[in-house]
Amino acid sequence: MRNFVSDRARDIPPSGIRKFFDLALTMSDVISLGVGEPDFRTPWNICEAGIYSVEQGATSYTPNRGLQTLRRALAIHLANRYQLRYSPDDEMIITTGVSEGLDIAIRAIVNPGDEVLIAEPSYVSYAPCVALAGGIPVPIECTEQDHFRLNPDKLQEKITPKSKALIVNFPNNPTGAIMRKEDLEPIADIVTDRDLMLISDEVYSELTYESPHVAAATVKDLRERTITLNGFSKAYAMTGWRIGYLCAPKEICDAALKIHQYVMLCAPAMGQIGALEALRSAEDEKTSMISEYRLRRNSFVAGLNRIGLSCHVPEGAFYAFPSVKGTGLSDVEFAERLLREQRVAVVPGSVFGAGGEYHLRCAYAVSREELTEALGRMESFINGL
């Protein structure tokens, strides 16, 4: 029999944490700082809205773009909160999580051979999605010296005549870095001068602790060349509901919609109704979750620095990204031994691409008690080295 696996599927590198995942599942009493999702449950009013919608029989397909009520509410929310103005009828698609939004955004603009610049360390799906679309991922390293922000000079260096787009994710998974307006402005100039499209994954936009999030599309002339991706997973603790959205100028949005209607048809109906409820009345719940993350961040980051893992203060998302350079171990060694010897799960930074090595991604989306216990175990581990 032939080998039926396509070259593209074959060439996707295996997950960098498979081994850790399998190991952790065989162990008990593991404290996991390895998760990329909130530890809170979805606020109950959102759950109720979802349950009620099912009881009322709202179990069919929705329009391809998503429920009009949700898109309208979202347009108002984006305008009020981020000064982002998108037409709910022409410039918005409700997607099945940001993951789908990312895929259709890339496929809408990338031709085979196009280079797509990716600000790394980054979420793990950017490069594979670019490759699946026939594009060539080109990493740009964001360094600790730059507070893990995207340095415009480094962006310039990587641009070639084949460059088509730039993917950024701020607040960032895994570093927790944010880009302020003054950091985005020089990037905007380059993107415009070099005629690139910007894909901005802003799924952590609600989770900032020092200053409000600045949406990339509001900076200079970026709106006409930006695809804004966002979703409900992180801010409202709704990861399993799978609701994201893509906003872009009409022409791009139309192209993405064609792909969306064939590969996804529509985002889950119940999830969309839950998302609408989130926008209508989960503001207080969201705010209290954010205050809790802030408290945890402050004590956890102080704790990491105290035990000798130097860590910049992450201004967004719910990740700390400490360095293990001082320990003499690589990030992978550190993470594996920490799991085996102290039963604390963290993700080695090198999994997230350029600039990630010698760092660990520690999610502080766990209870304060678990964070304290994890810090204690990490300290014992370091003292035993």
Partner: protein
Amino acid sequence: MDDKDLELLRILEENSRLSAQEIGSMTNLIPAEVEARIHALEESRIIRKYTTVINWEKAGNGEVSAIIELKVSPERDFGYDRIAERLSRFRQVRTLRLITGTYDLQLMVSGKNVQEVSRFVSEHVAPMDRIRETATHIVMKSYKENGNTLFEQQEAERLPYSF
């Protein structure tokens, strides 16, 4: 009172046993300042008391509690305050509030058994001047107290790793 004080109050309301050190690291304050601020909040009686949420039913002490609603004729110059203050002196009255609606005052009362609670209502509360009507509701089961659910919830299963 400033934002930091509010933050401290919210932290303490959730868990009043945290050390000044722990609270300091969460709020970026040095422990001495945490202590000073908490002391000031205690002095100004914003912090009234440190207490514990207990599932008494599980502890099996058999206490009975009741919600008692009262219709009260307010007094000239004092409104409801004087009678409410008198009522609140009783040890049995755990919570006392002025409310809108059919009744005026709402009490949470606890006692060793139903007899004790009813005796308290009939002998001490109902005969008081200005109380026109009482309605006593015995609590059968408590599901949530002070923001804490008292029933066991299944832990949501999370993957040990996700990106």
